[in-house]
């Protein structure tokens, strides 16, 4: 039974005065993998949400087979055989795989006959190309297995068309290849059509048959992947031919060690050891990149250095002296931080942009008069000055920072953290969720800080970012630094294996261990 053709024609959607989609069409050929490419805010999610019934399009039609459909909510879409896998897992961590699958059905009987369900599930699992232990608790599954379970869930619900929203953002390259390869294989049997939202060209080139590109809510291009080059697709996404080559600028002036971490240990929120003796140093004038898959201790490492988590052991030295991230130490040793999700980690959303930009210096002149009285006027004045330099777009610097877009929040944080001399800079996924223009700008500013002598620690889940920026690369896995390399000589496949924890430095000779 082959899946029906999904066709959207001339879709339009506006939110207030903002036009999110304008005359966008998409055609998902039965049994194909279709890539939906675009920068952040290009309208990819809006398009998919219109198809899935979260939004009602203002204009245009959606057809499934020969029928026009108007799903009013995701349940309607589900009933039509449309399923969606979200960027973040929608599983109940404390329940088993079997329970999660049964739970996903829209209509459940008052009493569940678990014996019968278990038999049905076992029979279902036998027909699948991959297996997950039905009795395993979801919490125990690795990210890749969870992602597979999300896909299984859709198959269990008999979805014939599956939409995946950046499905590989939480996976290692090897896991991503496995999951995508598996989906690709299923489409070859003409059982499934896949629409995949992504911004990774590697995935488009490797697994997609066709591609639709959006730019600022408009259709920027479409075609068969086999007939397009990466640069053509990048041009469609960004409007002008953009050079995707790494513009690596190596460090020229590496000096004395600034940030020294020795045998650092710390526990995560559940009290489980997350850092198990991490040692490294970052010198003035270099960028040290830390590559790791989410959940391998790098978040805790950043939190310890930033003062958001207490270390349980080891030493942390800045400028050769013990460092505990107190306010005076932060100020005197000029340690700054660009955390991921700045609104969650570095801003108070109901305080104004100007107030947020004063977090580093509100207790010093000219913002504080006589150490005690706050000068709102000076805070505002300073913010207005920086607004121009950093191009922060906000209704006013007095508006709550929570009302700004992600890129502008990050620009405000950049303005605050890079103000004046910076001697140590900690950047953790500083570009997560931002568009190309913002990413380019942030990368340039991080390089500039390095060239002015800062010691930069860059933690990133994006290997390309690490390779493009870092002068040295550390790979972390399960709370340890397991591998060190330099970007010029880095072997990405090997790094991926270390990131996945399949390789230890002693057993480099056995690549089969990756499976």
């Amino acid at each position: 039974m082959s899946p029906p053709l999904l066709r959207a024609t001339g879709l339009g959607k506006t939110f207030g005065s903002f036009c999110a989609l304008d005359d966008v069409s998409l055609e998902l050929t039965p049994g194909s993998v279709h890539g939906l490419l675009g920068e952040n805010g290009a309208g990819k999610s809006t398009l998919v949400k219109c198809i899935m019934g979260y939004h009602r399009p203002d204009a245009g039609h959606i057809q499934l087979g020969d029928q026009e459909i108007t799903p009013k909510n995701p349940r309607d879409a589900q009933a039509l055989g449309l399923g969606m896998v979200y960027q973040h897992f929608t599983l109940v961590a404390n329940m088993t795989v079997a329970e999660n699958l049964v739970l996903s059905r829209t209509q459940l009987p008052l009493f569940i006959d678990w014996k019968k369900e278990a038999e049905a599930l076992a029979a279902f699992m036998a027909t699948m190309p991959f297996k997950i232990d039905l009795q395993a608790t979801v919490r125990m599954l690795a990210a890749g297995e969870k992602q597979k379970l999300e896909i299984l869930k859709q198959l269990y619900l008999k979805s014939q068309i599956i939409i995946l929203d950046e499905p590989t953002s939480v996976l290692t390259p090897a896991e991503a290849d496995e999951v995508l390869g598996m989906l690709h294989g299923m489409t070859r049997k003409n059982e499934l059509s896949i629409l995949i939202i992504t911004h990774k060209f590697r995935e488009v080139l490797g697994f997609c048959d066709e591609v639709t590109v959006l730019r600022r809510g408009k259709q920027a291009g479409r075609g068969k992947v086999s007939q397009l080059t990466t640069n053509q697709m990048a041009e469609m996404m960004m409007g002008s031919a953009t050079n995707l080559e790494n513009k690596r600028v190596p460090a020229s002036n590496v000096n004395e060690p600034r940030l020294q971490v020795h045998e650092l240990t710390a526990a995560d929120d559940m009290g489980v050891p997350a850092l198990c003796g991490v040692s490294f140093e970052v010198c003035s004038g270099e960028i040290v990149g830390v590559a790791a898959v989410a959940g391998n201790g790098q978040e805790e490492l950043v939190e310890v250095i930033a003062g958001q988590r207490i270390r349980s052991g080891g030493t942390l030295l800045v400028h050769g002296k013990d460092y505990a991230a107190t306010r005076d130490q932060l100020h005197d040793r000029k340690v700054r931080c660009l955390p991921e999700e700045p609104l969650r980690n570095a801003c108070v959303s109901n305080m104004s942009v100007a107030e947020n930009m004063a977090f580093r210096s509100f207790d010093r002149p000219p913002f504080a008069i006589a150490r005690w009285v706050l000068s709102h006027r000076q805070i505002r004045k300073s913010a207005d000055e920086q607004q121009r330099e950093y191009g922060i777009r906000a209704p006013s610097m007095g508006s709550p920072i929570g009302t700004l877009s992600g890129g502008n929040v990050q620009r405000a944080v950049l303005a605050r953290e890079l103000r004046g001399d910076v001697e140590v800079l900690i950047a953790a996924n500083p570009c997560m969720g931002l568009d190309f223009a913002a990413v380019t700008e942030i990368h340039a500013r991080i390089r500039k800080a390095r060239d002015q002598g800062a010691a930069v620690l860059l933690v990133s889940a994006d290997l390309d970012e690490v390779l493009a920026l870092a002068d040295r690369i550390l790979v972390m896995s399960e709370g340890r630094v397991v591998y060190e390399t330099r970007p010029e000589t880095a072997d990405v496949t090997l790094m991926g294996k270390y990131m996945a924890g399949h390789e230890s430095q002693e057993s480099q000779e056995s690549p089969a261990a990756a499976e």
């Binding site: 930033a306 003062g307 958001q308 991230a325 107190t326 306010r327 005076d328 130490q329 932060l330 100020h331 931080c337 955390p339 969650r344 980690n345 570095a346 801003c347 108070v348 959303s349 109901n350 305080m351 104004s352 107030e355 004063a358 977090f359 580093r360 509100f362 207790d363 504080a368 150490r371 005690w372 009285v373 706050l374 709102h376 007095g398 508006s399 709550p400 929570g402 009302t403």
Partner: protein, 362 residues
């Protein structure tokens, strides 16, 4: 909670006003069930609260401690804490101020009053400082601990007043020895309202300025808005939480001192009359804004002052006004969901206390 002072939100006025109107309407239904005309109750309440000079002064007198106990909740709310320990701070502050009065009796009224105020505030500060310390050092829920510490405070208070400090002359109502007429807190010029009202207004103004215009207030708002952002900026969350809870407790302790020095002249069970709990209501009605506490305390003071008149002229139970207070509290909490519906800026809301707490207060 942290809108700039200059921006007076029309919804920050409209929503509480609408909540008051809805509460009065619901209260009217309750009154009708008792076979009394609602309009006569509203009229009597107005007369009993602000209708005459006498009743206005009565309302002002009741508003004074409410302003101070409201700060027990409103100040920690700036750090995102829901502290409801005003009653405990008040009774222990009152007890401590009596002790101070007796110890300093030989130095004359000025020294006695200053000593009473400082001691009352200090004991209140220590009491709620413990709540803050438990919260920040041991992770104990501040709402539950402050509620339970109220019971402990009342127990300690009774134990001491009925035991070691009992005046043998107080027969059917155990009290401490009086602080003496000479040491009583006087009335404001030309009024029958004591100086505690001025303490309350000044404390509210001070709190407002502290939270909006000082370095301390700025860092406290950072902690309240996002602990992670505060930590990233090297701000000690522990210090801010404990210091703010201590200020809150100091206000509560001062309320106890004024009740002793201006009203009762001694410490006895009359002090345990729910000003601490009513202060929670005031703080929420004022949306935790110290400036708004002042008018709201006047309103609530008026409502409680009118209870006696309802009893006398309509033979309704004295507790009728408590029903109105309870309705008000529930409606106010429910009205939190209406903020931000008319404009796009997200309204900062203080999390509502647990249902059990509401029941306790109502």
């Amino acid at each position: 909670m942290s809108q700039p002072a200059s921006r007076l939100d029309f919804e920050a006025v409209l929503v509480p006003l609408a909540a008051i109107v809805v509460s009065l309407a619901l209260f009217g239904v309750f009154i009708l069930c008792n076979g009394v005309s609602a309009s006569s109750v509203y009229y009597e309440m107005y007369r009993g609260a602000f209708g005459t000079w006498f009743s206005t002064q009565n309302s002002l007198t009741r508003a004074a401690p409410l302003m101070l106990t409201a700060l027990c909740t409103a100040l920690p709310a700036h750090l995102g804490l829901v502290v409801i320990g005003g009653e405990g701070a008040l009774v222990l502050g009152a007890l401590a101020s009596v002790v101070a009065a007796h110890l300093l009796a030989s130095f004359g009224p000025w020294v006695v009053l200053i000593g009473m105020g400082l001691t009352g505030a200090a004991v209140g500060a220590l009491w709620l400082g413990m709540v803050g310390a438990l919260r920040t050092l041991r992770g104990v829920n501040e709402t539950i601990s402050s509620l339970l510490m109220n019971y402990i405070a009342i127990g300690v208070f009774k134990q001491i007043v009925e035991g070691p400090m009992r005046d043998p002359a107080s027969l059917n109502k155990p009290s401490t020895l009086p602080i003496g007429d000479a040491n009583m807190l006087g009335s404001l010029p030309g009024m029958d309202v004591h100086w505690g009202l001025v303490y309350g207004v000044v404390a509210c103004l001070f709190s407002y300025v502290l939270m909006r215009r000082t370095v301390f207030g700025f860092s406290a708002r950072m902690v309240g808005g996002n602990v992670r952002a505060a930590q990233l900026s090297g701000i000690s969350v522990t210090k801010r939480v404990i210091a703010t809870c201590m200020l809150a407790g100091a206000a509560g302790g001062l309320a106890g001192m004024t009740e002793v020095a201006a009203i009762h002249g001694t410490a006895n069970a009359s002090l345990i009359c729910g000003y601490g709990y009513a202060g929670i209501l005031v703080a929420f009605l004022a949306r935790q804004n110290p400036l708004a506490v002042i008018p709201v305390a006047l309103l609530l003071g008026g409502i409680s002052a009118s209870g006696g008149l309802l009893q006398r002229s309509l033979s309704l139970p004295d507790a009728t006004v408590n029903v109105l207070q309870g309705i008000l509290f529930v409606v106010i909490l429910a009205s939190e969901t209406f903020y931000g519906r008319w404009k796009r800026a997200p309204a900062a809301t203080v999390p509502a206390p647990a249902a059990s707490v509401v029941a306790e207060v109502a």
